[in-house]
Amino acid sequence: MADYYAQLLLNGVVAGAIYALFAVGLTMVYGVFRFINFAHGELIAWGAYLTLMFSQVLPFALAVVPSMMLVILLGIGQDRYIYKPLRQRGRITLLIASIGLSYLLRNALRLIWGSDLQTYGFEAARGLSFANFIITRTQLAMVAAAVVFLGVLYGLLKFTMMGKSLRAAADNMDLAEIMGINMRRIGLTVWTLSALFASAGGVLIGMDTNLEPMMGLTNLLKAFAAVLLGGAGNIWGALVGGLFIGVVENLGVAFFSPGYKDAIAFAVIILILLFRPTGLFSIIGGMR
């Protein structure tokens, strides 16, 4: 019996690692630009679908490259043409615009690839078993990739000049600009990283589940729950949040009907917003 739960836990960690990727990308944009990019989910979905398309002509491992590059262009483009002009207008305007963009991108996806489920067509991988768990090769690859990405991010933030500038900008955008930090470059870096992580995560999750047009939105809400858990703007908090959501979701299947699996993330969102809107990891005081 404990094995059953342990297996669910393992599944949860695998899923959580991917959610962590999504959440980190979302929270980085929030940290610097102070708004939730609703279209982040579509970056995930487009990453997955473009890889599907390129994998018709390229080996899978290579197919991810052009698809990620295109998604990065998409990420930078959405900032340049839509979000940047609206930055002064207030968070609600940005939110509505990003909802509109996400609707546009989601329907473009449906237009091109249709509403049916798609898959990468890997053979049902046989699991490697060790101890009493079963972990498939795909799942191993997912976790490994996630770890690599996050590790590189850690190195970037901690040891490079760009990383330090990013942290400064997240802390105080105006002050960072006065100190001479090039905000254009920061913006480019943030959107590149965000899109990169989103598309990579999209491919990874596509390896384990089916592709369908709503996958962007579903994963966005999970990423958002993770961002909230960790405190909006807090990168490592988002990581832990992602893992938490993955684990709770998968363990929850033991108790709730599977149809409500996605609702777990929603419930987390609502609960956090009601009881600890600043997340589990931050300390803020101030005006009522």
Partner: protein
């Protein structure tokens, strides 16, 4: 009328307001002065319910208001303005004034649908009062302009007008003369003096020292969150602690 007892407000490790106690009621106009960052506006926020106190109590007209919501405090008769004008730019001058009457009949849904004549009557009364206030602050010609189009000084007067519409017992003004020209300052001073004849208490944060000396019979001085002086304006000018607060400590070289 107002009693503040040992109130403290911390932000993280910073003591914004540190153990301040004061009482108002003896004189009609009281001033609150001090260098920038001394905690004056923070104290106002604490008194009017916008900030939660970390320690201490506040009493108004005999009732404790320490944990009371800002809108309730406003309805009890303590009305305030903000440091930078906060008129509602997309409402007209008149609408700004009309919205300032605290507890209107027409703000209750049941009254809207089931007691329309009472709502109409009260609205008529409020409109008449708004006309009076418009005359007092001399903004009648601009009554239907969007208040965002008024000059800064006119907006400050409008804020004062709003405060008057609320029929207050006590008003707290946060730097009402900042950034406005001398003529408007005169007008404001006249309005304030006229108010006190109606028994309204005024508590005033100001940097304009001559104005404070002219209007206030009593003044409190704050520095770095502490209350360092309480007395007449004349006395404040001579007090060593006050001078040091404004000019900095003399450097006692060995």
């Amino acid at each position: 009328m107002l009693k503040v007892e040992k109130v403290i407000k911390r932000f993280g490790g910073l003591m914004a307001v540190s153990d301040v106690s004061l009482e108002l009621g003896a004189v009609p106009i009281t001033g609150l002065v001090g260098p920038n960052g001394s905690g004056k506006t923070t104290l106002f926020h604490m008194i009017t319910g916008f900030y939660r106190l970390d320690e201490g109590r506040v009493y108004f007209a005999g009732k404790e208001i320490t944990r009371v919501s800002p809108h309730v405090i406003s309805r009890m008769g303590m009305v305030r303005t903000f440091q930078h004008t906060r008129v509602l730019p997309f409402l007209s001058t008149r609408e700004n004034l009309l919205s300032a009457v605290p507890a209107q009949r027409g703000e209750r849904l049941t009254s809207l649908f089931f007691r329309p004549s009472e709502v109409r009557r009260e609205e008529r009364q409020n409109r008449a009062r708004a006309e009076e206030v418009l005359d007092l602050i001399k903004l009648a010609p601009l009554a239907d302009e969007l208040s965002g189009k008024l000059s800064y000084g006119q907006q400050k007067l409008l804020e004062l007008g709003r405060v008057l519409m609320a029929g207050p017992k006590m008003i707290l003004l946060d730097e009402p003369t900042a950034g406005i020209n001398p003529t408007l300052i005169r007008r404001l001073a006249e309005v304030l003096k006229a108010l006190t004849t109606k028994g309204i208490q005024v508590f005033l944060i100001e940097h304009n020292m001559p104005l404070v000396a002219e209007l206030c019979d009593r003044v409190f001085v704050m520095d770095s969150g502490n209350l360092i002086f309480s007395g007449t304006p004349a006395g404040a000018i001579k007090d060593l602690g006050v001078i040091e607060a404004y000019l900095g400590r003399a450097d006692h070289a060995a």
